[in-house]
């Protein structure tokens, strides 16, 4: 019985997240449209509200093209690996008190593990496509994820030190639910590092070198079409959601807000996550892309040393005060 209830929760979470993904694309196109003084999607439904559904149906019914000289097994598996890893990471996110599927003690490490796994999908796609553009995209993504994963992990060590736990629910509770208790204030440097690393981990602008359209056509997803391409897209948006949620939990006090909301305690959490998503899109409409050597220099020469210094300072402060 217990397992059935759990399965029910999982299905609900999955459905809600997929709906979120569909409308996140709409959200992004509308925001970028208005920032560039365009209207964005307008044709399907009122102000284009049904556009994501039309896109989904279109992708679903397209022919599943598998080019001739690809490594068929890898080519088929790559999108699935990407999406499965990212959806797996959703299991440990606490959306509200008690609204979490697996309240495990290593939640933070689990998310790192899953986001590391997601890079395999991209690498596999790049390699198995048997195309130079895809391959270069895959290699870039691999180097980028390895470099920035370290910075991201180190930036969250400060949060672990302050809360004394890896459990995401405990981290939220340790921030005491007040405005001043949020870890953004004592850990402002860590948040800066986390934010940059988060953009790089999700392959978003200004770190979207793996799919730099001016040089690599579309990077690792060049050879993909139809539903498999759409699955890569879903993985990217679920990844954005997971990273936004992680930022909200670790630095902005998770579900706590100025007043409790009846019936829907996750409201503040959702609002904070969408604020994060908005910034993601805002940056995409604003920033140019980094050059590759600049990307590596930023990751290894600035973010990692800064994160290490932050850990030392946090540990010393915690012992002294």
């Amino acid at each position: 019985m217990h397992i059935l209830i759990l399965l029910f929760y999982i299905v609900i979470l999955f459905a809600v997240v997929m709906l979120h993904v569909a409308y996140a694309t709409y959200f992004e196109r509308k925001i970028i449209g208005h920032m560039q003084v365009r209207m964005g999607p307008m044709e399907v439904g009122w102000h284009g509200l049904l556009q994501p559904i039309a896109d989904g149906v279109k992708c679903f019914f397209k022919e599943d093209v598998i080019p001739e000289n690809v490594d068929a097994f890898g080519f088929r598996m790559a999108p699935v690996v990407s999406l499965a890893a990212m959806v797996g990471a959703l299991a440990v996110l606490p959306f509200a008190p008690g609204w979490v599927i697996a309240d495990i003690d290593i939640g933070l490490l689990y998310i790192f593990a899953m986001s590391g796994l997601a890079s395999y999908g991209v690498i596999l796609a790049g390699w198995s496509s048997n195309s130079k553009f895809s391959f270069l995209g895959g290699l870039r993504s691999m180097a980028q994820v390895i470099s920035y994963e370290i910075a991201m992990g180190l930036s969250l060590v400060g949060v672990m030190l302050l809360s004394g736990s890896l459990n995401l629910t405990t981290i939220v509770e340790a921030q005491s639910g007040t405005f001043g208790g949020m870890y953004i204030f004592p850990q402002i440097i860590a948040f800066g590092i986390f934010f940059v690393a988060m953009l790089a981990e999700t392959n978003r602008v200004p770190f979207d070198l793996p799919e730099a359209e001016a040089e690599l056509v579309s990077g690792y997803s060049t050879e993909y079409s139809g539903m498999r391409y759409a699955i890569f897209f879903m993985a990217e948006y679920v990844g954005m959601l997971v990273m936004s949620a992680l930022g909200t939990i670790c630095f902005f006090g998770g579900w706590s807000g100025p007043f409790a909301v009846p019936f829907f305690p996750a409201l503040w959490f959702v609002l904070k996550v969408y604020a994060f998503m908005f910034v993601f899109i805002w940056i995409r409409a604003t920033m140019p892309r980094y050059r590759y050597d600049q990307l590596m220099e930023l990751g290894w020469k600035w973010l990692i040393p800064l994160a290490l210094a932050n850990i030392v300072v946090t540990a010393v402060c915690k012992v002294l005060f």
Partner: protein, 193 residues
Amino acid sequence: MFIPIYFWYSAFVIVLCGLLAISLRNPVHSVLAVLVLFFHMAGLYLLLQAEFLAAVQIIVYAGAILVLYLFVLFLVNLKEELKVSAFVPGVWLGRGIAAGLFVLLLWALPSFTAGMKGSWPSAAVTQAGHTKALGAELFTQYLLPFEIAGTILLVALIGGLVLAARVGQADRTEKTARSAGQETTPQPREEQS
């Protein structure tokens, strides 16, 4: 009931993936088999309530080390397989030796006995949290071995850096010597004789 099934499933997949990793022709496929193997190892750690170890297994081995293996495979780009001369003459002799080793291993297996009970039986670990127990033990009782292991890793790191720097320097001096040589001695050697 669930736990033995899970154990046997994981054990089976680990053995299967191990076999696949050494028998698949494509090295990238072998790496992927090892990836699946690591995940099931992590599953076995979870069965033993070693959550931290399971997470680290995936982050370090699957997330970092295997990715580096893939990197090397991609950059080297083996067009043809390396042919190494056989270690033992005859295929069946080799198989016989392998089977003999396996039987020897099975024969030695019953002589394993459970070690001494430490200060952290699994009930105590569950109560304190695996990460906390591991950290406390590592940084108090085993601090010296921990630091020694850290130093050894640091030595390896610096050694790698020194070697890389030396190769880079050699390349550079060679290049400058070559370009300088071209400038100073444009005459071919044949004229001297």
